[in-house]
């Protein structure tokens, strides 16, 4: 038998032994040294142990019985002090062992930055079970705090685990964004946001000055003077190969023990594997290449031919709820092109880096459903030229011309474990099971599995799974294209406008392959809206892509005349305003003056050429457009409110006016009407508006998604706000979410029915930061659109277009 000595019982050497015992059970007499007082366990599963999701016993790879069955002499808890290559012996603390072949698998040591106080008790690395147990113990004290130094993979897993154990956790990272080795800035930002949502504090560009404490760690002090209380400090800033034995034995060294492709060191009888080796200038830290090395080393020892080759690596973070993936190389370069998809509303970011016709890198955050497919493209250096345009949407959209035309084939080809619903983590297999169990409609599948129940964007995929499984038994609701100019649906177009950063109509027509030169009356208003909603600062509104009413800022009537309706903020007016309206009606011969349901006055029957002049008159009296003609904010209806009504609560009328002054001028997918009532008697009829607020003694009940047109529907309660400020922020965020996500010409209630009120709540009620961001984006848009179009068009030059271009009746006939 070959006397094989192994120094280090880690994951790499453990895998070598498995291969050897499987291929040649009787060939090796193995002695296994391990400095830790235990055998091989799955080190990468320490995170679940830390978080309490698994116990140590569950992550043991080789137990005593396994070692016994394979005749392994275990010398656990014993350090190896040297290797005598001349005598071919390994020197342990408790004696020597002779070897024929030796494997050095000493792994790595955590890197400890020598800050003042780094050696205080309570400062641990995150490397082995002892560290993990120290952290678990620290978390046992109620209200204890932890500081994790290092915002890389390991540090974040430690932070998440400690947080799950109830500690106050702050992560310090010295670079500008987390996981800077694997992620780019945007993905790092999203990760930070998600961690903060989980109650983990993150300080980037943190310069640690010292770790302080009296006999034990008590706090971490930063250069800027910040002092963070800490019952435990986890230093997770990286690893260094533990290669001292190799150095002492005179093996050829680089930054670690140098090996060839057979994992042989400069001594032909000594091999090395795992994190203590250097191959072709590279060091190793992730498990995938270690397993490759283990396989090669086992074959070498068995006298078979094999060679280790480096492969592309990918990273996933094992923190529940933080869905990120990174693979390949994503540095920017001259020859490189990026395809970026961002969905800020859902916290999704995907970036593909392309060099020539190859995908060389991928970073995704928030939706990593297609990560394995992308990783495959990187590893195999697949030519992606043909699918470049739709590459970022993943395999469901690919498969050459045929599958692009037949997305069903692509869905049929998905494996059972392919994730269909990213929000709820529902795989194709789950959906198939529910279909087999009798769920034969989208709603039934949604109810049983939650698939497509959140953001709803995977509804189409779920339907395709249904169609494939049930065949004719499933009536596919036809997802209609926007119009005959394109095969794309509204949802596709909205997504592509964001993903491809299309900022002009020609860009949309060109990049999305419009079949017509410049669209039609169906798609043009929709695209115009999507562009101005998504890129308020970049895109210039195109009046020629608007329906006549929005272009002429008045409602065309059946006889070709127009109606003019000035704004009355919250339905409050003054004698002066009323006089000006009466004067204008007289002056322009307005045949009908109508009080509207939206609490204002409509002047019907104004001739087009008179529009600029009547606007000018109304402007002079301090009035602005009521936007009664827009897919935009119409009115905010109010009751008389607490100033007069004996039942009124809050300043309901004032709130209505404030909301109208904030929201006016904004364009929305369809019209938006608000109501604010001062008490539940609801005189402002707020409960059938797109947004309706009922003021009560304790605050503001904010309802959304009401309707009183073709459909009649009561609002649903979005949230209850306790302050006016909060109520206003919720309303703005709702309107902005609607602006960013809805299909053009879907009223709010239709849109909410599609995405679900739960999802809307998650976005703007549960997630205060997202709410604030929506409000910010709305304000950016309003910096462009919160102005009176009448004043603009009443100016002499724009007013010209309301008049004849030429009057040939005045020309003399020749």
């Amino acid at each position: 038998m070959t006397r094989l000595v192994v120094i280090g019982a880690g994951m790499a050497s453990g895998r070598v032994l498995e291969h050897l015992f499987e291929a040649a059970p009787e060939k090796f007499d193995v002695t296994l040294f391990n400095a830790e007082p235990r055998g091989n366990y799955n080190r990468i599963m320490l995170s679940p142990v830390l978080s309490g999701e698994k116990s140590y016993a569950e992550i043991v790879t080789h137990d005593d019985a396994w070692y016994g069955a394979h005749g392994v002499t275990c010398r656990f808890g014993e350090r190896v002090t040297g290797i005598d290559r001349d005598r071919k012996v390994v020197i342990g603390e408790k004696g020597e062992v002779v070897y024929d072949k030796l494997i050095v698998a000493t792994g790595s040591n955590p890197f400890i930055i020598p800050f003042p106080g780094h050696d205080l008790p309570g400062v641990v690395a995150y490397r082995d079970l002892e560290d993990t147990n120290a952290m678990i113990e620290a978390a046992g004290t109620p209200g204890a705090s932890a500081v994790v130094i290092g915002g890389g993979l390991l540090g974040l897993e430690a932070a998440a685990g400690l947080r799950l154990r109830g500690m106050d956790v702050t992560v310090l990272h010295n670079v500008g964004h987390l996981m800077d080795r694997q992620l780019d800035e945007t993905a790092g930002y999203l990760l930070k946001k998600d961690l903060e949502k989980r109650g983990i504090g993150v300080i980037t560009r943190a310069a640690t000055k010292a770790i302080e404490g009296d006999g034990r760690v008590e706090r971490v002090v930063l250069e800027d003077g910040t002092s963070l209380p800490a019952d435990i400090v986890v230093m997770a800033v990286g690893i260094r190969p533990a290669a001292q034995l190799g150095h002492a034995a005179g093996l050829e060294m680089g930054r670690a023990i140098k090996v060839d492709a057979q994992m042989r060191t400069s001594d032909p009888d000594i091999f090395a594997v795992g994190e203590c080796v250097e191959f072709d200038g590279a060091l190793f830290g992730l498990v995938a290449p270690l397993y490759d090395q283990a396989k090669v080393l086992a074959r070498t020892l068995l006298g078979e031919e094999d060679a280790f080759r480096m492969r592309e690596l990918s990273t996933k973070l094992k923190v529940t709820g933080c869905d990120l993936f990174s693979a390949g190389d994503f540095a920017e370069g001259e020859e490189r092109e990026d395809i970026v998809f961002r969905d800020p509303a859902r916290g999704i970011y995907k970036r593909l880096v392309i060099e020539g016709d190859r995908l060389v890198g991928a970073v995704m955050y928030g939706d990593t459903a297609d990560s394995n497919w992308f990783f495959g493209l990187i590893k195999d250096a697949t030519d992606i030229d043909e699918m470049r345009d739709t590459l970022i949407f993943g395999p469901a959209f690919q498969g050459g011309g045929a599958a692009a035309a037949d997305p069903m084939a692509a869905v049929a080809a998905l494996p059972d474990d392919a994730e269909i619903c990213g929000c709820n983590g529902i795989c194709k297999g789950d959906i198939l099971k529910s279909i087999a169990g009798g769920a034969h409609t989208l709603d039934a599948v949604r109810a049983q599995t939650k698939a497509s129940a959140s953001c709803g964007t995977c509804s189409g995929l779920v339907e395709q799974v249904l169609a494939i499984t049930l065949g004719d038994g499933f009536q596919m609701p036809t997802e209609k294209p926007v119009c005959t100019c394109t095969e794309l649906t509204h949802e596709d177009v909205r997504r592509l406008i964001k993903a491809k950063e299309l900022k002009s109509q020609p860009a949309v027509w060109q990049e999305l392959g419009w079949k017509t030169p410049n669209g039609c009356h169906v798609c043009r208003p929709a695209i115009n809206f999507y562009l101005l909603a998504d890129w308020p600062l970049d895109y210039l509104d195109d009046p020629q892509s608007r329906f006549v009413n929005e272009r002429n800022h008045a409602n065309i009537q059946k006889d070709g005349t127009y109606s003019v309706m000035p704004r009355m903020w919250g339905g409050i007016t003054t004698p002066d305003e009323l006089r000006a309206i009466a004067d204008a009606a007289d002056k322009f011969g307005v045949p009908t003056v109508k009080v509207t349901g939206g609490q204002r006055i409509d002047l019907l029957g104004v001739r087009k050429e008179d529009l600029p002049a009547i606007w000018a008159d109304l402007n002079d009296a301090g009035m602005v457009s009521g936007h009664a003609y827009t897919k935009g904010l119409r009115t905010v209806k109010t009751c008389v409110g607490s100033d007069w009504c004996r039942f009124g609560t809050q300043d309901s009328t004032g709130l209505g006016i404030k909301l109208e002054k904030i929201l006016w001028g904004s364009w929305t997918p369809h019209k938006v009407k608000l109501g604010v009532s001062g008490c539940p008697r609801n005189c402002a009829e707020a409960t059938c508006k797109d947004v309706g607020i009922i003021c009560v003694d304790s605050g503001y009940e904010i309802g959304v998604a009401g309707a009183a047109g073709m459909d009649l529907k009561e609002t649903e309660l979005l949230a209850k706000a306790t302050s006016e400020e909060e109520a206003i922020a919720l309303v703005i965020a709702f309107v902005q979410l609607y602006r960013e996500n809805a299909k053009y010409l879907d009223r709010a209630y239709k849109w909410v029915a599609k995405v679900g009120l739960d999802w809307v709540r998650e976005q703007i009620v549960d997630d205060a930061e997202n709410r604030a961001r929506l409000v910010d984006r709305f304000e950016v848009s309003q910096s462009v659109y919160r102005k009176d179009p009448w004043a603009e068009h009443a100016k002499p030059k724009p007013a010209q277009r309301f008049h004849l271009l030429a009057d040939l009746t005045q020309e003399a006939a020749e």
């Binding site: 030169p517 039609c520 009356h521 043009r524 020629q544 271009l805 009057d807 040939l808």
Partner: protein, 110 residues
């Protein structure tokens, strides 16, 4: 054919229209391209909708009232709809919009 200069091409927004009053009534001049115009009746044969207020796309216009689409080249209604609008000769020369001069002379005939 005599041509009448009725204005500069930039007096009409791209994919927009303006009206020209004639003795035969108002006709619409549509700008379909950087230097391309068409002249046609302003009135939709369906319910009299003002075609000059419609959305102009390709060499077509959609009536703002009920979405009938007309070719500006032939005047024919597109798709399933039936109907036709009268078209008139128009062109652009050195940035000026020129209309068929007989539109003025039509007074005599009217």
């Amino acid at each position: 054919m005599s041509w009448i200069d009725i204005g500069h091409i930039d007096d009409i927004p791209l994919r927009g229209a303006r009206l020209v009053k004639t003795h035969m009534g108002c006709l619409a001049v549509f700008r379909t391209g950087e230097a391309e115009v068409f002249a046609a009746s302003d009135s939709c044969p369906h319910r009299g909708g003002p075609l000059s207020e419609g959305i102009v796309h390709d060499r077509k216009v959609t009536c703002p009232l009920h979405n009938m689409v007309f070719s500006l080249e032939t005047g024919e209604a597109q798709g399933a709809d039936e109907g036709r609008i009268e078209t008139f000769a128009a062109r652009v020369e050195q940035g000026r919009i020129l209309l068929d001069g007989t539109l003025i002379a039509a007074r005599g005939a009217a």
